[in-house]
Symmetry: C2
Subunit: 173 residues, 2 copies
C-alpha cells in the first residue's frame, strides 16, 4: 500500500494530527502516523467519512486488545447512532490498510488490535483465562517447521494458541 510513498493530499486534513505520536518507530515502517489516512484512502479510491473518522478516534484511544463489540460500544459513546455493520465494515477496510489486525479468540469472538506493533500471536490459558502475546521469535520454531515441511507461511497475527499455563498445568512430568 505504498508506504511512505506519494504525498497525495496537502490539505488541511493533515493538520489534524491530534496525537503527537513518536514517529520514527523502527518496528513498523509505513504506519508512522494516522494523519495521512484520508489521503491513503483516497489514493485507493476509498473515502473519508465521519463514521470512519470516529472509529479512528476510538482506535487512537485504544491500547491492547479489544473485541469488535467493544469497539462498537465505544463508538456508540461518541455517537449513539452508530451502526454496528458500519463499524465492522470499516474495520475490514482498516485491516486491508494495515491499521488494525484481527484474530479470533479461543471463544470465537473477534479480537482487534491496533498497529503499529510487532506482529504477534496469542496464548490463552483455559484454566485461569489469562492471555499472553507470542512474538515472532518465540513462534519461530513453528514458523520454520511449517515453512520447511510445507512451504506454508504462517500469519502470526492470526495465531491463537490455547492450553494450560505453568500455574494451571498439573505438576506432572
Amino acid at each position: 500500500m505504498a508506504p511512505g510513498g506519494e504525498p497525495v493530499s496537502p490539505g488541511p486534513l493533515a493538520a489534524r494530527a491530534s496525537v503527537a505520536r513518536r514517529t520514527g518507530d523502527p518496528l513498523v515502517a509505513g504506519v508512522s502516523s494516522w494523519a495521512d489516512l484520508p489521503a491513503r484512502l483516497r489514493a485507493s479510491g476509498l473515502r473519508w467519512t465521519p463514521q470512519r473518522r470516529m472509529l479512528l478516534e476510538v482506535l487512537e484511544g485504544t491500547t491492547g486488545h479489544v473485541t469488535g463489540a467493544e469497539l462498537v460500544e465505544r463508538c456508540r459513546e461518541l455517537d449513539p447512532a452508530t451502526i454496528p455493520s458500519t463499524v465492522y465494515r470499516t474495520l475490514d477496510v482498516l485491516e486491508d490498510l494495515g491499521i488494525v489486525s484481527h484474530a479470533h479468540r479461543v471463544d470465537g469472538r473477534e479480537e482487534f488490535h491496533v498497529l503499529p506493533a510487532a506482529e504477534h500471536g496469542h496464548l490463552y490459558c483455559t484454566g485461569c483465562h489469562a492471555a499472553w502475546e507470542v512474538d515472532a521469535a518465540e513462534a519461530q520454531p513453528l514458523l520454520d517447521a511449517l515453512e520447511r515441511s510445507r512451504g506454508f507461511r504462517v500469519q502470526l497475527s492470526h495465531l491463537s494458541i490455547s492450553g494450560l499455563c505453568g500455574d494451571c498445568a498439573p505438576a506432572t512430568t
Copy 2:
C-alpha cells in the same frame, strides 16, 4: 458418509481413524466404543435421552470435520423438531466425556470432530481456503518451545493456524 474406513483422498484434510475399526486403540483409553455411553453418562449422574441418542447417531456417520450448524442440520434431517440449543449443549457434554472435541476455525465458526483420533491442530490457507491437519510431531517444535520457556502446555486440538500455503504464497524470498 458411512464410516467405512476406506482410505480417503490424500488431499487437504486427510483421513481420520474410523470409529468402528481398531478398537482397543492405545492412544485414547476410554473411548473404545460408544455402546457403553449410556452407562458412562449414568455413572456421572447424567442421562441418556432420545436427543442425545440422535446426536450420537449423527456423529457415528460423521467423518472429518463438521461445524456446529452442520450437525444441527443433520439432526434436523432425522428429526425436524431438533432444537439447536439442545445440540450444542449435548456437544458440550460429549466434549467433557472426550467423545468429540471442538476448535474455532479461522472464520470464528465452531468446528467439531469425532474422537478417537490423534489430537491434532489445523492449518488454513487464507488464499485458497484449503485446510490440513497438523499432528503432534509437526507441532512439536512449538510445543517444546512454549513448554520450556513458559511451562505452557498447548492444547493441540484447539490450535488453528492460518497463513498462505506453498501454492498461494508469493514466490518471494
